[in-house]
Symmetry: C2
Subunit: 198 residues, 2 copies
């Protein structure tokens, strides 16, 4: 396949992707905000999340800030901020913060170094745990410890899991398409003896 | 937090997750099928996908089959097979294939060693490229080369990206909740000079 159709197909082939904004601040105080669709759950105890950084071509403000300061935030994108969130992906110069250009509010909570996104309803503060180089295509996996989870109890179910409908969290496919969701089913933990007779 | 509420919260904190079934076959011909919510796009050229395996406690048929044979399939879960897909997560003995127990059809295409899921509308055949141990919590990242993408053209948009609504692809949050989606927005590639004035 040609390069562009191949990129479009492979970028969408994994299915729905989570829509998050990663907030950072440089050592000199410049804030940065960038959209990522590759955040993945690594484990709950310790609570670890990972995401994938593309190859270091040109400036990578998010990665530099994380490596230099050790802290970052992951903030759910909701339907009210989807357009602003999308356009954080433009290649703005370092001195122009995406918070300012895209009119999103840097919010400092619990004395945490990195800025949260004020308009986000689910905000996670992380400390850098490890970076793993993925040599096969020169990407990097960034692993962080969850230090803070900031959300209203209205967005949690009785088992403490997140109600992503209540928090108006959206998802992405490919590089440009955004979705809201509706619940179709919940099933019990699968135990061999209790699996339905299909 | 207590262990169970913590597990519930952290498993759902990344947002919507892709819902995929991974199909494998052992060297002796036993098929295996398992649900995964951690598939992530690593790059398009070469086309590489990754997913996370939990720690090797007890038997891990999927990982053993991938390591022993070098091949696996990733198949989108749609609303028609969501219940069957969920219950592949029960801890069935090796001799009982989840394909058979959960009444999903192993499908062999293009001479590929690993079975696809007949009922899935988007099927990907991969060859093992690399496994990366994530020492911090004893998980493993499995990286595969995309060898085949099997789908009807009816599930592709004009730019060749997938139309996840047309393919009835669903998403997951946490460990037990499944969603269908509706599109809310598509935005152009973000170029600094064309970013809207928010």
């Amino acid at each position: 396949m040609e390069m562009l159709p191949r990129l479009s197909l492979i970028n969408s082939i994994t299915g729905f992707k989570p829509a998050n904004l990663i907030g950072t601040k440089s050592e000199s105080g410049d804030t940065n905000l960038a959209i990522f669709s590759s955040v993945v759950h690594l484990g709950s105890d310790p609570a670890l999340l990972a995401f994938i950084m593309r190859p270091m071509v040109g400036e990578r403000h998010t990665l530099e800030n994380i490596l230099n300061t050790g802290y970052y935030t992951i903030n759910h994108i909701n339907s009210q901020i989807v357009e602003k969130a999308h356009f954080t992906s433009a290649d703005f110069p370092r001195a122009l913060s995406e918070f300012e250009r895209c009119k999103l509010t840097p919010e400092y909570l619990h004395g945490f170094y990195a800025p949260f996104v004020g308009e986000s309803k689910v905000k996670i503060g992380l400390s850098l745990a490890e970076t793993i180089p993925i040599k096969i295509n020169n990407t990097t996996m960034i692993i962080g410890h969850v230090e803070h989870v900031v959300l209203s109890g209205a967005y949690q179910k009785s088992d403490q899991s997140l109600d992503l409908i209540a928090s108006d969290t959206i998802s992405i496919s490919g590089l440009d398409t955004y979705y809201r969701s509706e619940k179709i089913a919940t099933f019990p933990y699968a135990i061999v003896g209790d699996v339905p007779k299909f």
